[in-house]
């Protein structure tokens, strides 16, 4: 308690220097927090992908469709539990900036292959019965004020024309990483209209989602699916959802690695900032430390004094930095179109990492000053002239 007061008073001695140091630490910790959050966002996306789901897509490119007829053939492969499918519908809801995923799905199977999308039974039943109905994620329901019975008009682009969907259900995300920003409607509703307008494009699905019984069989089932259509014009490429998500991200891999690296460089910078301040302070106080030793204060007292000050500054900087991370992350996610990054939030791990990094920095920054204070003999310290 007694030393605490001196620590406080010491750290307030150069108010400007201490404030700048704390500010520097705060900015660095905040940058660290934001970077880690962005990294987490990507990784969460991969983590959220289930290991018991396979995605079969057109082998050449994701943008080419597959025939609807594949559905039954895939379903016959042993080990396959459910085959579902979806089409990327896109379209525009009032304004191009209102971005959220809009997909035509198979109402019977889609929610059973995605158990993390929670929808109540009654809503689900009405949804299945009405061909032009849709189910929306809780997050976009909240954002755009969609309620049961509302009609959502969509201006088609991939599927031209004006479309209208009646909201018949709102699904809740099961996990924090579950995407609650999708709008899902009947594939058959789309396909029937396409059959009349553009017969050549009817009977096509964007990709198949295959729920398998045993994740260990993922590789062998994937191979079997691809083997089925190997010599057709529409060969497939089947992989686990996780691998599929990863291949999306893989283009960004080096960027992510760079960001990871930068986030640790930032820790190094914090260390230098605080280290510099502590070394300057300790140097100025050489004589005072000698006086304290003269009065009988022990090495332990000096360690407490210097380490305490270093930790105090580090803690204030980290606290401020972590606190500002939240509004910054919220700000970034607010300006980003909804649905691009459904997993954008500060994880406890980021907070713990940031806080322990600051703690570590506090310790490290005090090593040299402590060494110096302990090594300086009293007589030399007393002769020291700033």
């Amino acid at each position: 308690m007694r030393v605490l007061k001196l620590i406080f008073k010491n750290s307030l001695r150069h108010k400007l220097r201490t404030s700048l140091t704390i500010l520097g630490l705060a900015i660095a910790v905040m940058a660290f927090g934001v970077l880690r959050t962005v990294l987490d966002m990507w990784n969460e996306g991969v983590e959220a992908a289930a290991a018991n789901r396979l995605i079969a897509r057109q082998a050449v490119s994701f943008i080419f469709p597959l025939p609807y007829s594949y559905r039954d053939k895939i379903a016959k492969i042993p080990g396959v539990e459910t085959v579902s499918f979806a089409n990327w519908f896109q379209g525009v809801y009032i304004d191009k900036n209102n971005f959220f995923a809009r997909m035509a799905v198979d109402p019977e199977t889609f929610f059973s292959v995605y158990p993390e999308l929670l929808v109540n039974q009654k809503e689900f039943e009405t949804f299945k019965q009405e061909r032009n109905s849709c189910i929306v994620g809780a997050e976009i329901a909240k954002q755009y004020g969609f309620k049961i019975g509302d009609v959502i008009p969509i201006e088609g682009d991939i599927y031209p024309g004006k479309w209208e969907f009646v909201v018949r259900g709102i699904y809740q995300p099961r996990d924090k990483s579950t995407d609650a920003t999708q709008m899902l409607f009947h594939w058959t509703y789309i396909d029937e209209r396409i059959k009349q307008d553009m017969p050549g494009r009817a009977g096509q699905v964007g990709w198949y989602i295959i729920k398998i019984k045993d994740p260990a069989q993922a590789a062998s089932i994937s191979e079997q699916v691809d083997a089925l259509f190997k010599n057709s014009p529409n060969a497939t490429k089947t992989e686990t959802e996780r691998a599929f998500t990863q291949s999306f991200i893989s283009g960004l891999n080096s960027l992510l690695q760079a960001m990871n690296f930068v986030s640790f460089i930032i820790i190094g910078i914090i260390m230098l900032v605080l280290g510099n301040t502590m070394i300057m302070s300790a140097r100025e106080r050489t004589r005072e430390y000698a006086v304290l030793k003269t009065l009988g204060f022990s090495a332990g007292h000096l360690v407490g004094l210097i380490l305490g000050e270093s930790l105090l500054i580090a803690a204030l900087g980290a606290g401020l930095g972590l606190l500002t991370t939240y509004p910054i992350v919220a700000g970034i996610s607010a300006v980003m179109p909804k649905g691009f990054f459904p997993y954008f939030f500060v994880t406890p791990t980021t907070i713990i990492l940031g806080a322990s990094a600051a703690l570590l920095v506090g310790f490290t920054a005090s090593i040299f000053p402590i060494q110096r204070a302990l090594r300086t003999r009293i007589v030399d310290g007393l002769r020291f002239l700033g």
């Binding site: 007694r2 007061k5 001196l6 008073k9 010491n10 307030l12 001695r13 004589r287 005072e288 006086v291 304290l292 030793k293 003269t294 009065l295 009988g296 204060f297 022990s298 003999r377 009293i378 007589v379 007393l382």
Partner: protein, 224 residues
């Protein structure tokens, strides 16, 4: 004859700089008795501060014996020596050496933090000694709000607050004007006469030395 408080026999001290030995004190023998007020004089660089530091236990002799209030302090380990200092010696420096972030009260309280005294007891002691040095009304001033003479009086209060047997002062008036210097000397005199403190004071100032009961001269590390 009063007790011998400081007993120095054939004391040598050299400093080492880049493996070159710089002899500073050469075969010093000195006795100081309880209640004496010794003034150490001598030219600059003669080793006065060095001798004072040895007596006060903040430096170690190269050779010889150094007994202060019955303890051969040359033999004490680092932490034992620190403890011994806090119990037996009060320090007064030329440049006061108060901690600038602490008030007069807190500076004086500092040595008491190492004792088992309660907060209330510490307060009583601190107020008492600040009254002795005539600064009872300046307790909550910071060093930079005080004059040099007042700072030195705070330093003296800090030196006597633990009631040590021995007071060492290294040119306590060296940085003060004539008037303030006089006040400090009167105070030291009083501490010696009234409170029976044994004082060893290094000084250049002959008028300061006159206050002392004994004067010794140091020249090129030899005492006369």
């Amino acid at each position: 004859m009063p007790n011998t408080l400081i007993d120095i026999k054939n004391l040598f001290k050299s400093y080492w700089r880049d493996s070159i030995e710089i002899p500073v004190l050469n075969d010093i023998t000195l006795e100081v008795h309880d209640g004496e007020f010794l003034a150490l004089m001598g030219p600059s660089g003669s080793g006065k501060t060095t001798l004072l530091n040895l007596i006060a236990g903040i430096d170690r002799p190269s050779k010889g014996s150094l007994t202060v209030s019955g303890t051969n302090i040359a033999d004490l380990g680092e932490s034992a020596l620190a403890k011994w200092r806090s119990q037996h010696v009060g320090f007064v420096f030329q440049f006061y050496n108060l901690l600038p972030v602490l008030t007069a009260f807190e500076n004086v309280e500092l040595p008491l933090l190492l004792t088992s005294l309660s907060k209330a007891e510490r307060k009583k002691h601190v107020e008492l000694v600040l009254d002795v040095v005539g600064l009872g009304d300046r307790m909550h001033h910071y060093p930079k709000q005080l004059s040099g003479g007042q700072e030195q009086r705070v330093a003296i209060a800090r030196a006597i607050v633990t009631d040590p047997t021995l007071l060492v002062a290294d040119e306590p008036t060296g940085d003060l004007d004539k008037h303030s210097a006089e006040e400090i000397l009167v105070l030291l005199d009083r501490l010696n006469q009234e409170f029976k403190k044994t004082i060893v004071m290094v000084t250049h100032d002959p008028r300061a030395a006159e206050r002392a009961t004994i004067q010794r001269h140091l020249d090129k590390g030899e005492l006369s």
